[in-house]
């Protein structure tokens, strides 16, 4: 898929672990891990909102489009 999830980079910048983020966002570790590795088909707006709030970033910081 040409859309790459940059969640790992944002988490590393904020020095936040997967468990910590999952707890803040209210997702399971497995789901968040799948999202991080690009295994998910989509993201709900409410999930994106929670991630942006937890990481203090914009939705555009989380995704990148590459041909």
């Amino acid at each position: 898929m040409p859309i790459i999830v940059r969640l790992d980079r944002m988490m590393a910048d904020r020095k936040m672990s997967l468990n910590e983020l999952a707890e803040k966002v209210g997702m399971t570790n497995v789901n968040l891990s799948n999202l991080k590795t690009g295994k998910m088909k989509g993201v709900r707006f409410e999930t994106m909102e929670a991630i942006c709030k937890a990481l203090d970033c914009q939705p555009g910081d989380l995704f990148e489009y590459k041909e």
Binding site: N31, L35, K39, M40, K41, G42, R44, T47
Partner: protein, 208 residues
Amino acid sequence: MKFTNAEEGSKEYRSMIRWCSTFATIIVCILLLMSKDFFTDLLSDKHSYEVKLVKEETLGNGQDAYRLFKDGYEIRDVDYNEYFSLDDNGNTDFKYCALVNDAGNLTFSIILGIMLILVIMIISSTAKGTPFTNENVKRIRAISILQLLLGILPGIVKLLMRFFKFSYYSGHFEMGSLYMFIIAFIIGMIAMVFNYGVKLQEDSDSIA
């Protein structure tokens, strides 16, 4: 099924599983009891069977009726054409005719029992989470096929049993069987809808 908290959900789930298991056990016990009576009658020669014409004065409904008696006790109304079939020696066998009828009823009950157990399995798996699973689709398909068999198998069992004993045998198509075929078709459609539901569920699960 939605629960307000995990503990309540778990309690409700355990209670439902317990009820489902109890119900399934009762069905299996009833089926075993029915089979036991049938096989005891089949293997023993202790009981005497006879068919008598009961006059309308006794019945009071304006019609004479043939009734089956086992050891002198009245069991049920019978169809004259089914119970007076003759074998190669020109004899009737009321016990065999009663067993043919019981075999048909037993086949019907066994299929119905399996269907009920499948329904209980669906309810039980739904209590765990979503009903849209591949297992449930297979179960609903199985129920559809069993419903189809419910319409034809008891008749085939009776026909085959008569075929082996009597020189004259017949089978007839009942309107009830047609209803069962239609119901089987509807259940098959429900299985297809569930199959689509499974795909939607998988899609929903793969969205974070």
